[in-house]
């Protein structure tokens, strides 16, 4: 028979008188043994409350545990303690603070399986029970923390989205402004090109007019003087050697039919019919000493053979053929 069993039987009054006296004398002189019996008595209270004793043991335990006011208080204390420990999960669900009222039927259920249920089905709750009294506050704190975190995250996402929208709008605005500026620059460029071309044309006309007004002066530009020709390919056409540096040259056409028409036109084409240049705005006054002069850009001409047709406008408005000219360009 082990010590544990002896102590339990001693407490329940099941020991014979001689064995009982041995136990009593031992706990009086041995404080450790005395404390062991006290612990066993507490365990017996647990078993009594949790109803793990058989009927006879329960009756004996009741006699012992309800014999004095102190014993009753001790039982109530343990009942309260078990209720606090086991009831904490229920209290949390009901959101009430930990009270001291103990439901004895709950304790009965606990003995038959609720405690195991709590452990098997509510494993995480077990951890909460370890700290059962501050748990409600802890859960409130966790919920508040979770709420704050969620709110903060939503605010962060919202502000970030707002920020991205602002950046996108700014980028679109900047892009539109850039496109507008580009359009303006393009228009300016086109205007400048037109102005430049106009100035070039004016300069060309001025140079042409100057050249025609001073036919006897030594030409400052390379000059090609052409006489009317009868076309024989590779015959006597003048060869014009255009230097790469020659951006303009003067062309002088001999005109024998002077002043018979009120307006003249000149058309330069290649021999295969591709028109290079033309003008129908020559006035009779521009024919000086039997020469119609014009300044042409060198860039118009490539390595090729060219022919020029001179026409004069009749009174009926139609231009009629006057003469042909031919020349070659060999760059």
């Amino acid at each position: 028979m082990n010590s544990d069993d002896v102590i339990k039987r001693f407490l329940l009054g099941e020991l014979p008188e001689d064995e009982r006296r041995q136990v009593e004398e031992q706990f009086l002189r041995d404080n450790s043994f005395f404390e062991e019996i006290l612990a066993a008595e507490e365990s017996l209270i647990d078993q009594y409350l949790l109803e793990t004793l058989d009927n006879e043991q329960k009756a004996r335990a009741q006699t012992l545990l309800e014999s004095t006011r102190e014993q009753k208080l001790n039982v109530e204390f343990t009942r309260e303690l078990i209720g606090l420990v086991r009831g904490s999960s229920r209290l949390e669900h009901n959101n009430v603070s930990a009270g001291l009222t103990v439901d004895s039927s709950r304790l009965k259920n606990g003995a038959n399986g609720e405690s195991r249920l709590a452990l098997t089905q509510h494993g995480p709750i077990y951890a909460k029970l370890m700290n059962q009294v501050p748990t409600a506050n802890w859960i409130r704190f966790s919920l508040v923390l979770l709420l704050l975190t969620t709110t903060g995250w939503i605010v962060y996402l919202y502000s970030k989205e707002r920020s991205l929208d602002a950046i996108r709008i700014a980028a679109e605005r900047s892009n539109n402004e850039a496109i507008a500026r580009l359009g303006q620059e393009r228009e300016k460029s086109q205007t400048l090109n037109k102005e430049l071309e106009s100035e070039r044309e004016q300069r060309r006309n001025a140079e042409e007019a100057l050249a025609q007004s001073r036919p006897n002066q030594p030409p400052s530009l390379p000059t090609v003087r052409l006489a009317p020709a009868t076309f024989v390919r590779d015959g006597y056409s003048k060869v014009l050697d255009l230097n790469l540096k020659t951006d303009r040259f003067r062309l002088q056409l001999e005109v024998k039919d002077e002043l018979r028409h009120d307006q003249y036109s000149v058309s330069i084409t290649t021999f295969d019919g591709r028109q290079i240049w033309s003008s129908d705005s020559f006035k009779p006054s521009q024919i000086k000493q039997g020469m119609l002069s014009m300044v042409l850009p060198g860039s118009l001409f490539e390595y090729d053979d060219y022919k020029i047709e001179l026409k004069g406008r009749e009174e009926n408005g139609n231009f009629v053929h006057i003469a042909d000219y031919a020349f070659k360009v060999r760059k």
Partner: protein, 182 residues
């Protein structure tokens, strides 16, 4: 107040009964507690009075010159306690108890302590609270709990008992504070 002779007898008696290192008051308290439990476990209805009666007789005998010596000084105390118990039993059989224990008023701890139990549990060291919860939540597997604690089941019960004692002391203080406030 005890006379100097009585005081000397008192000190000498409890220095014999209880281990060195404790104050005389602690020795007396411990001895009295064991006697109270002696009568409790014999299902006496008023164990405190019987324990006090035992101590009074013990001190009287020592004061009258009875020498307590030997390896087991408690054997003399035990003899007196048994005698007091037998007197009590005889007296109880002849008289009707004025107070039926079964009719003692139920003490509503809930009302009395007003949250002291929960408060004291909260103030308990976390590892003790954890052990307590494990002990009561896993009541069918206390051997496993003991194994996890590297202890025998008796050692585990002892730890639980000490934790509960700590809680009781805390609650008593708490209740006193509550009473003072009220």
């Amino acid at each position: 107040m005890k006379s100097s002779l009585e005081q000397n007898s008192f000190d000498e008696l409890f220095s014999l009964l209880e281990p060195q290192g404790l104050s005389t008051e602690s020795r007396f308290t411990l001895c009295r507690r064991k006697l109270v439990k002696f009568f409790v476990w014999r299902h006496c209805t008023d164990p405190d009075s019987l324990a006090d009666e035992t101590i009074v007789r013990l001190l009287k005998n020592v004061d009258q010159g009875t020498k307590i010596s030997g390896d087991n000084p408690y054997s003399y105390v035990y003899a007196i306690a048994i005698h007091v118990f037998q007197e009590h039993t005889r007296l109880k059989s002849k008289t009707t108890s004025l107070t039926d224990v079964a009719e003692l008023p139920q003490v509503s701890i809930s009302a009395a302590v007003d949250g002291c139990g929960a408060l004291c549990l909260k103030e308990l060291a976390p590892e003790k609270r954890e052990l307590l919860a494990r002990y009561y939540l896993d009541s069918d597997d206390r051997n496993d709990t003991a194994d996890e604690q590297f202890a025998t089941i008796n050692a585990l019960r002892l730890r639980i008992y000490r934790i509960k004692q700590e809680l009781k002391r805390c609650r008593q203080k708490c209740e006193k504070r509550s009473e003072l406030r009220n």
